[in-house]
């Protein structure tokens, strides 16, 4: 029963309530890091970790957080986990860290994380909050990865930095796809496809 509920919650958070295409949250990083798949994967792992840990921690102390300072506390918790991610990436993946530059630090301002802490973790027990964090992170990640794969292949004719056999030789790079406007186009097309064919909006909904 509990497993079924968890599964349903996971599917809802990553699917119908997806932070990117349903709630349109976290768009800035969607635009910034999705021109190369490798950077996107690292960014996604960072966001999943921060989302899950900050949701769990906020939920753990939710009964004691004074209402007047709750957003300061949430920001502090999120910032601490983001700095940990940043330092660990610098220590273990220095090349990727240099390419991502300030974007890892900017996870602090990713509205998905604060949004889930406010909307979910403050009102639910730690374990479901943790699962909600992972689910929201996974939902954010697969949208970003779809966009990143499309942008890197069309914009640079490569995948994960490597030439693609039978493709890279003849393909003319779409330069706009590696720039921010290309991310807007790719995201808009993806949201349009998903909202039209995969998760159509309820016409009777308010």
């Amino acid at each position: 029963m509990a497993a079924g509920k968890t599964k349903k919650q996971f599917i809802m958070s990553a699917g119908k309530d997806n932070p990117v295409f349903a709630q349109i949250l976290g768009i800035c990083s969607t635009l910034a890091v999705t021109n190369v798949v490798e950077n996107t994967v690292v960014m996604c792992l960072g966001v999943i970790f921060v989302l899950a840990c900050s949701n769990f921690t906020v939920s753990l102390i939710r009964k004691w957080i004074p209402g007047s300072i709750r957003m300061m506390v949430e920001t502090l918790i999120i910032a601490a986990f983001v700095i940990i991610v940043d330092v660990v990436i610098q220590a273990t993946l220095p090349g990727v860290s240099r390419q991502l530059g300030p974007f890892v630090g900017l996870i602090i301002t990713n509205c998905i994380i604060m949004g889930r802490a406010e909307a979910y973790a403050l009102n639910n027990p730690p374990l479901p909050s943790f699962i909600d964090g992972i689910a929201s992170g996974v939902g954010y990640s697969y949208v970003l990865l779809i966009i990143a794969v499309f942008r890197e292949i069309t914009g640079s004719a490569t995948f994960w930095g490597y030439d693609i056999p039978w493709f890279s030789d003849w393909w003319t790079n779409w330069s706009i796809m590696v720039m921010a406007p290309g991310a807007f186009f790719a995201l808009a097309i993806l949201i349009w496809i998903i909202k039209t064919y995969v998760v159509p909006e309820d016409p009777g909904g308010k």
Partner: protein, 208 residues
């Protein structure tokens, strides 16, 4: 009633201080644990950039790179104790120069490591570090063909040519290089960086 309000406020301040303390302690512990790796990575990047600008593309192992650096490179630091340029001895005992030039690109700074032959003007190699140029466009200045085209030239660079399809057939013109398609501003920045580096190399050799 008033006492409750005071208690509530004291608790709020105490809670914030406690959360801050825990968060800072946690971050501090992770920072201390990873500090050595982060510092080692920074050092390796610097040494690899110097080797690359000197014309050694790769060493067989990290230890070999460290040994080479230790034996052949003299690091000169500026007034702020930051590495500024390097005198690199080759097998013949000649002193070559690798200098660091910090210029500006499209979105931010570009740090270039430029290597020169012992004659003080012929370029041995170039390596670009710490830039935030657009991936897929300006960031392609990192590609080997782009950096390789400066080797053996002594500028000053005045002409930017279009990017060729055949990267093995690049211009031999001393005062020209091929730009990256779609990255005109970055390519212009590289031109400025290379010309300023040439001037600086001349100055450093004359002062020596």
């Amino acid at each position: 009633m008033k006492t409750n309000l005071v208690k509530e406020r004291i608790f709020t301040v105490f809670f914030m201080v406690a959360v801050t303390f825990v968060a800072i302690t946690l971050v501090g512990i992770v920072d201390i644990v990873t500090a050595e790796s982060v510092e080692r990575n920074r050092g390796l990047f610097l040494r690899q950039a110097v080797a690359d600008a000197f014309g050694i593309a790769e060493h067989d192992s990290i230890q070999e790179l460290l040994d080479w650096y230790e034996e052949f490179v003299t690091e000169i630091r500026d007034d702020d104790d930051v590495p500024d340029h390097f005198w690199v001895r080759n097998q013949e005992g000649e002193e070559n120069l690798v200098l660091i030039y910090r210029g500006s690109g499209l979105w931010g700074g570009i740090t270039a490591f430029v290597g020169f032959e012992a004659d003080g003007k012929t370029i041995r190699g170039v390596n670009f570090q710490d830039h935030v140029e657009t991936p897929g466009l300006g960031a392609r200045i990192d590609e080997r063909w782009f950096r390789r085209q400066f080797v053996g030239k002594y500028g000053p660079f005045e002409e930017l040519r279009s990017e060729p399809d055949d990267k093995d057939n690049l211009t031999k013109d001393n005062q020209a290089f091929h730009q990256v398609t779609g990255a005109t501003i970055t390519s212009e920045s590289v031109k400025t960086i290379m010309n300023r580096s040439l001037e600086r190399a001349e100055m450093l050799f004359s002062e020596r």
